[in-house]
C-alpha cells in the first residue's frame, strides 16, 4: 500500500470524525432552533465567540464519548506497537501482513517512537481528559462552595481562619505539592488516601444539606429522599475511597461491596487537582457571598425564619451562578493544562497512558527529529483549552446582556 498524500490524510481524518460531525450538527441544529426557550444556554448561540468555544469543547467531548463508549473514531489500539511503524511520518501505510489481519491500513498521523498510532492515542487521550478534568473541577467546586458560603455569610473568626488556610495552600508551590503527593513514600503513609477521604466527603455534605434545607418543611418528602440519596452517595464514596486505602482505617467496604476501583495514580491526580483548586474557588464564592448577602431577599428569608444553610444554598448560591459558571469553564481549562503538566512530569497517570500531557512528554525527546508525535496532542490540548476559554468568554458576555 502507498502512503497517503496530505489531502488523503486530511480527508481520512475528517471521515474518521464523521460521528462527531453528525452529533455536532444535531446539537447545533436543535439548540439554535430552540434557543429562545433555553435561557443562558440559548443565548450562547447569539455570540460568535461563544459558538466557536462551544463547538471546540463539544468536539472533544463527543470524540471522547464515541471512542470510549462505542470504540469509534480511533483507528488502532492506542497501546499496540508495530515495530515497522516507529517514527513514521503521517499517512504512512502499515505492512501488508498487518493490513491482512484486518487493521486500518494507515497511521493517519504517523507513529511514535514505540510504533504506536499517534492519531488513536490522541483520540483516546481526549477521553482521559474529559473524564478527569470536569469531574475534578466539579469536586473542587463542591469543596470551595461548601466552605466559601459559610465563610462569606457568617464572617468573623470562622472566615478569618478559613481564609488564612486558603492563603496558606495557595502560597505553596503547586508543582512541588504534586511531587510530594505522588512520591511513593508519601503515598505509602496513606496521606493522599486520607486526603481523598476528607475531600470526597464534601459533595455528600453538600448534597445532603442542599436537600435537607429545601425540604425541611415537608418531612414526608425529605426523609425518604435523604435516605436514598445519601445512601447511594455514601456507597459511591466508600467505593471510591476504599481501594486506595486498603489496609488503612479508611478501608470501610469489604471488597464484595466495592463497586469500582480507580487506578491509584488517577485518584492521586484527582486529589491533588481538587486540593489546589478549591482554595481559589473558596475565595471566589466567599467574595460573591459577601456581596449578595446584603440583598433584601436574603433579609426576607431571614425574617421568615429560614435556616442559614437554606439561605446560603437556595437564596445566595443560585444568584451567584453566573460568575461561577464562567469560572467553571475556565477552571476545566486550567485543570486540563494541569493534567498535561502532571503528565509531562511523568507524575500520576501510568506511563503508557495516552493522555495528552504524557504523550507530549514522550515525544519531547525526539522533538528535533520527529515533530509529529507530540504535535498532535499539543494541538488537541490547545484547541480544547482555547474552546473552554472562548466558551467562558461567550457565557460571560451573554450573561451580562439583558
Amino acid at each position: 500500500m502507498d502512503p497517503l498524500s496530505w489531502g488523503g490524510i486530511i480527508g481520512a481524518v475528517l471521515w474518521q470524525f464523521l460521528p462527531v460531525w453528525i452529533a455536532l450538527f444535531l446539537t447545533f441544529a436543535i439548540s439554535i432552533h430552540f434557543k429562545s426557550s433555553l435561557g443562558l444556554y440559548g443565548k450562547l448561540f447569539d455570540s460568535m465567540i461563544g459558538m466557536i468555544g462551544f463547538f471546540l469543547v463539544m468536539f472533544w467531548i463527543y470524540t471522547g464519548l464515541f471512542t470510549a463508549l462505542f470504540d469509534l473514531i480511533s483507528t488502532h489500539d492506542p497501546l499496540a506497537q508495530i515495530p515497522e511503524m516507529k517514527n513514521k511520518v503521517p499517512g504512512w501505510a502499515l505492512p501488508e501482513a498487518r493490513v491482512d489481519q484486518g487493521l486500518y491500513p494507515h497511521y493517519l498521523l504517523g507513529g511514535d517512537n514505540l510504533g504506536r498510532d499517534v492519531f488513536s492515542r490522541m483520540v483516546k487521550g481526549s477521553w482521559v481528559v474529559i473524564q478527569i478534568a470536569p469531574l475534578a473541577a466539579l469536586f473542587a467546586y463542591m469543596v470551595g462552595i461548601t466552605l466559601g458560603l459559610p465563610a462569606g455569610y457568617y464572617g468573623g473568626k470562622f472566615d478569618t481562619v478559613l481564609s488564612f488556610l486558603a492563603n496558606l495552600i495557595l502560597a505553596f508551590p503547586v508543582i512541588l505539592l504534586f511531587y510530594l503527593l505522588v512520591t511513593p513514600e508519601i503515598v505509602q503513609t496513606g496521606i493522599p488516601a486520607y486526603m481523598a477521604a476528607v475531600l470526597f466527603i464534601f459533595p455528600i455534605v453538600f448534597v445532603g444539606i442542599l436537600l435537607n434545607s429545601k425540604f425541611v418543611t415537608r418531612p414526608e418528602i425529605r426523609t425518604p429522599l435523604l435516605v436514598v440519596v445519601l445512601g447511594i452517595s455514601f456507597w459511591l464514596y466508600a467505593s471510591l475511597v476504599s481501594e486506595q486505602a486498603r489496609g488503612t482505617i479508611v478501608d470501610i467496604l469489604p471488597s464484595w461491596l466495592d463497586l469500582f476501583n480507580i487506578p491509584g495514580g488517577v485518584l492521586v491526580v484527582f486529589v491533588s487537582v481538587v486540593f489546589v483548586n478549591s482554595p481559589t474557588i473558596f475565595r471566589i464564592v466567599r467574595g460573591l457571598t459577601l456581596d449578595v448577602k446584603s440583598r433584601d431577599y436574603v433579609s426576607a428569608a431571614q425574617t421568615r425564619g429560614e435556616s442559614p444553610w437554606y439561605i446560603m444554598l437556595w437564596e445566595i448560591l443560585p444568584n451567584v451562578r453566573g460568575p461561577l459558571i464562567v469560572d467553571f469553564c475556565l477552571r476545566i481549562g486550567y485543570t486540563t493544562i494541569l493534567l498535561g503538566t502532571l503528565g509531562f512530569f511523568g507524575l500520576g497517570l501510568p506511563p503508557e497512558s495516552p493522555d495528552w500531557g504524557s504523550t507530549i512528554n514522550d515525544g519531547r525527546r525526539l522533538l528535533s527529529v520527529y515533530l509529529h508525535p507530540p504535535l498532535a496532542p499539543a494541538l488537541a490540548l490547545l484547541s480544547l483549552v482555547l474552546g473552554l476559554n472562548l466558551l467562558a468568554d461567550g457565557l460571560r458576555e451573554e450573561s451580562l446582556k439583558d
Binding site: A300, Q302, T303, R304, E306, K401
Partner: protein, 817 residues
Amino acid sequence: MAKKDVQPILEIDDLNISFFVRAGEIPAVMDFSMKVYPGETMGLVGESGCGKSTVALGIMRDMGNRGKIVGGSIKFKGRDMGDMSDEELRDIRGSKIAMIYQEPMASLNPSMKIGKQLMEVPMLHEDVTKEEAYNRAIEMVASVKLPDPARVMDAYPHQISGGQQQRIVIAMALLSNPDLLLLDEPTTALDVTVEAGIVELVKELGEKTGTSMVFISHNLGLILETCDKITVMYSGEAVETGTCHAVFDRMRHPYTQGLFNSIPLPGADKNSRPLLSIPGQLPLPHQRPLGCNFGPRCPHFDEQKCNAAPVKMNPVQGEEKHLSRCNRISEIDWNAEPERPVVADPVEPGDVVLKVDGLKKYYDVAANALFGGAETRTVKANESVSFTAREAETVAIVGESGCGKSTLAKVLLGLETKTEGEVVLENLEIGDVEVNDRETGTVASIQMVFQNPFDTLNPSQSVGSQIMRTLEMFKIGNSQEERRQRMLELLDLVKLPRAFAERMPRQLSGGQKQRIGVARAFAGQPKVVVADEPVSALDVSVQAAVTELLMEIQREAKTTMLFISHDLSIVRYIADRVVVMYLGHIVEQGTTDEIFSPPYHPYTEALLSAVPIADTSVEKKHIVLEGDIPSALNPPSGCPFQTRCPRKAQVTGDLCEREVPPMRNLGNGHMVKCHLSEDILEQMEPVIVLGSKNKAPSGKKTGAASVATATAMSVASSAAKKPAQKSATTAKKKTATKKDNAPPKMKKPSKPDDLKRISGVGPKLEGVLNGLGIYKFEQISKWKKAEREWVDGYLKFKGRIDRDNWVAQAKKLMKEG
C-alpha cells in the same frame, strides 16, 4: 417670560434619539423640542423610562455606541451641535456645557485628591498655571460653602460625606464658567435635609452666575422649588411644557394631572381623599400606540381624536408658551373632580400590640477580626427608644439615614437582639430572641416589606414558589395543594393575575414586585408589618397604587403597620402617629396632626421645611441645616441634634452641649426631646401653610389632591374681588413712614402674593422681602428709583432689580392676579 429678542442658550428642535439593540431600533426620545434662555432654569420631569436622561445625554452627544440622534437638531448658542467636529464638541463639554450626575461618588475619581481633580478643569480648558488653577479651585470650594476649603482640597473623595461630594461635583462643573449646566437627579441619592442644602446652593449659584440650567428630576416638588419652566415627559415625548406656575396651576394634559393626583400633597387624606394612581403601565417602546402615547391610560381617551395620528404639541389657549400634547385641550373639563373610590371610615385603633420600652442597641466594632484589636468602639444605633403601636394603627418612623430606624426594624424582626430595654409583642418579650429561635407563630406575626423592589425577590425562583415557601415556613396549609390555593388567593389580594405565579421576578415591573413583597409579608396573617420605605424606589404613579393597596390590606386585616420613611409627605398621608428619630434617639412623637403643626422639635421643623412640595399655593418656612449628620460612632455630647440645631442659641448657656434633654410630654402623648423653653415652643409658627386660595370654601371642597386645578379655578373667580381688597390695603400703606428710601412696609396680609413668581425671586429672597414688609406685587410695582436702589443695595444685587425689571414684572403679575 417674553425674551424674543434674546438668543436661547440651548434650542432643541424635534429631537429624535433611538437606541439600536439586538431587538432592533428602540426610539427613546421622539419629537422633542425645548428652548432654554440665558439665566433660566428648565425642569425636565417624568417617570423612569420616559427619556429625560437621554435628552441630557443627547445634549452632551454622549450616547455610547448604541444610541444615535436620528432626527432634529440641538443648537447651542445658535450653532447646530450636529455640525461640530469631535474636537469642538470635546472643547464644549465640561467647559461650556457641564453635567452633574446622580451619584457623586461615581463622578469623582476615588484615587485622586479633590484639589487635583478640581485644578484639572481650568488647566485643561483654559490652560492656566498651576497656582492660578489652585486659587480658582479653592475659591470655588469656598463658594459651594464647604467648611475649611484647604483641608477639603487635600482630601480624597471617600473622606468627605455624600452631600459634600455633591458640592464638590457642583464646584467642578462651575469652575469652567459653563453657559449651561445639566443636572441629572443631582439630589436623589442624598438625605432630605442635605438635599435642601444642595438645592439652595444650586439656586444661589444660578442667580449669582447667571448660568442656564436643565434640571432633571422625578420629583415635582423639587422642580417647583428650583425651576422657572418645566417640561413634563412621558414615554419618550414631551407632553406638557410651560412656566412652572402655568403648568402647576393650570395643567392641560391628563398625564400631568394624573401625576398630581398620585402624589400625597398636603390635604390628601387616606380615608376621605385617597390618592389616585394612573391605571395601566408605561407602554414598552416598541408597543407604543399610533396616536397619543398616554391614550391607553387616559380617562379622556377618544379613539377617533386621540388614536388617528401622532399627536402634536398644541398651544393652550390664552397662554403664551404653554403647550400640551393633547388633542382635546379645549374639550376636557380640567377642573372636574376625578372619581375616587368609596370613602372609607377611619379605623379605630384597638389594644396595644407592640410595645417598645427603653430599647437600646449598641454594636461593638473591633479593629481586627483575627487577632482582636485592643480597642473596641461602640456604635449606639438605638438609644432609649420607647413607643407603642395599637391594633390597626399606622405608626410612621421618620428620620434620615443613620438615625437608627433600620436597626430598630432589625431588632423587632429578630435579625439583631437588643442590648437593653424591652420589646413586647402581644405580651411576649421578643427583644432578645433571634428569629431562628422564635416560634413559627411569632415569626409569622411580625413581618416586613422591603424597600428596594428590584432586590426584594430572589431572581432565580418563580414568584409563586417564593410565596409557597413562605407559607411552608409559617406552617400554613396541610398539603402542597392547599398552599397553592392560598398562594393564588394572596395574588388576588394584591391584585395581580394568577398567571403571575409562574413568572420569574425579572418579568415583573417594580410595582408588581413590590406587590409580591406585600403578599409575602401578609401571608401569615401578621399582627405587625414593618414597611421599610416600601414605595420610595417606585415611580410616582406606581407609588400611589402600592400605598393604597398596602393600606387597604392593612385596613381589612386590622394589622398594625410600622411605616419607616424619610418622606414626610407620604407619612402625613398614611400615618396615624409619627415617631421622629435622629441619631438613635426619638426626638419627637405624637399624632400626625401634632407632629405637623407647632410646637415642633427643631429637627422636625427642619425636616418639614426640607421636603419639597409640588403645590404653588403652599408656603414654607425656609430652614436649611448646616453640616451633616454626625457619625453614630462618635455622637456629639448632650443633645444629639445640637451640632446642627438652628435654635440652639435660644437655649441659655451650654445646656444643649452638656445634657441630653429629657422627653417632655406636651399633652396627649405628644413628646418632645428638647431643652427649648415652653414659651419658645409655643411661639413657633407652622412651617407649611396651605395657600390662602385653599382656605376658600371651594378650595376645601375640591381638596388638596387636586389643589393645583382648584387653585386655577379660584384664581379666576376671585380675580374680580382682589383689586378692591388690595386698594384698601394700599391706602393704609401709603401713610407708612419712609425711612432712608426703604420701600413702604405693610403688615402680613391674609393673602400675600406669591413673590416667587417674579423671575429671579426664590423662596429665600421671598423670605427676605417679607421681612422688609413686602408681600404684594402691588408694592413692588410702585417702587421708585430711590426705593429700587435701596432694595438693590440691601440685597447686594448690584443692579439686578433693574436688569430683571421687577417693577414691570410685578405690574404684569398684578394684572394677571
